[in-house]
Symmetry: C2
DNA sequence: AAGCTATTAACGGATAACCCCAAGAAATAA
DNA sequence: TTATTTCTTGGGGTTATCCGTTAATAGCTT
């Protein structure tokens, strides 16, 4: 039916998906561990119709890879595969050009439907995704804090966010990052604003949901 | 080679695993979404050799299901499948009778080796697992806070832990739980002790790693 | 050069989080 | 019954977090 590529660092799941989509009648051109690996393996002479793409991956994540595809091979359709259905991930992935977004704990039949839809209609949006989109639009209307939400965090902020998920105090984090505690106040407040949270706990939950930190 | 059962609420992964283990030459008797579903489907006339069991599941988790198997069908071997390699999960699962513990992002070959080992040797412990065990033993020697770590949290504590992962203050949590803020202090300190953490952030990270809260 | 923006940094204060000590009540074990 | 553990609540105090306001420095734009 269709030529697929699977990009996911989660090998067991990826392997399982391969078997599954083959059973649906698709061909799998190759598999990749992450975005970099994917780009390295991609041959311009044999391009896939659809790429099943994980979001949180090491080296190069789903957002960047999707963006790269949008720029270089805009006709290749990306089906985003995510653990979570949080609004900002969905919006961001769609902005990066994904044509569909499904959860990793969905039913196999939904995966099948999604792939079929991408091939035939060019997109696959569930009610869940549409709902989040409508939600986000409303937010944009009234103040657009959600746009900042999509802003990629800079390196200092990402570093800070990682420390935030530890039991270090902000003062200790300041020492580790070689800046004043006041600066840390600034990083924190900037992230509160960007991510739409109000407390350190909010930052931690955001960081985990969005794969900023690896839970190991 | 062996008769298997897969228990995991993560349908896509589970389906993939089914294909994979079949390719290894095993038979899959049935699949289940969680512990309750598993027990309901289990037929005493046709018991599996090995059960591939997820840990964090709704309704009835891997710990309880493994414990139940240990009590009722101690000859059935459990291979624990987990997202994380945190010490307390490994120890607790082994105390519940699991004969092996592998990560969900391992290579398919390791899954194969693990199943083979369970059938032939009766167990499969990687260096990672052994390492954590040795680590834990040392801790037990010197004060045994790790034992309390394995203590199952009571309902109030679990409820509290869920609220802890929100942006509510402790005072607000007290209101929601209809207890005094002092009681909340008590819950918090008890969990600090049991889980071996020192701050609210520590609680949040623990809760997420151990599937106390669902990240959705 | 004047203006803009990002980064780092500071003061002061309000609230929340953390922690020690203690004690009554209720459930459980001896 | 008595003893022990568990759950609940309190007083009082230290540290950490959160927040409004302000500003120096450096790089970039017009």
């Amino acid at each position: 039916m269709a030529n697929l590529v699977l990009v996911d660092d989660h090998v067991l799941l990826r392997n399982g998906l391969v078997e599954l989509v083959k059973k649906f009648g698709n061909d799998v051109l190759f598999e990749a561990d992450n975005g970099k690996d994917f780009i390295a393996q991609l041959k311009p002479t044999q391009l896939p119709d659809v790429v099943l793409m994980d979001i949180n991956m090491p080296e190069m994540d789903g957002y960047d890879t999707c963006q790269w595809l949008k720029t270089n091979y805009s006709f290749i359709k990306v089906l985003a595969l995510s653990m979570y259905d949080n609004e900002s991930s969905i919006i961001r992935m769609i902005k990066c050009g994904a044509k569909g977004y499904i959860l990793k704990d969905c039913e196999p039949n939904e995966l099948r439907r999604a792939i079929d839809a991408l091939i035939n209609k060019g997109y696959y949006y569930t009610d869940m995704v549409s709902g989040k989109l409508i939600n986000a639009i409303n937010k944009i209307e009234e103040e657009s804090s959600e746009l900042k939400n999509l802003t990629k965090l800079n390196e200092r902020e990402t570093d800070f966010l990682k420390y935030t998920c530890t039991e270090l105090t902000y003062k200790e984090i300041a020492d580790k990052m070689y800046v004043s505690p006041r600066t840390i106040d600034g990083y924190r407040d900037a992230l509160f604003e960007k991510l739409g949270v109000k407390t350190r706990v909010g930052l931690v939950v955001y960081a985990i949901k969005n794969g900023i930190i690896t839970l190991n």
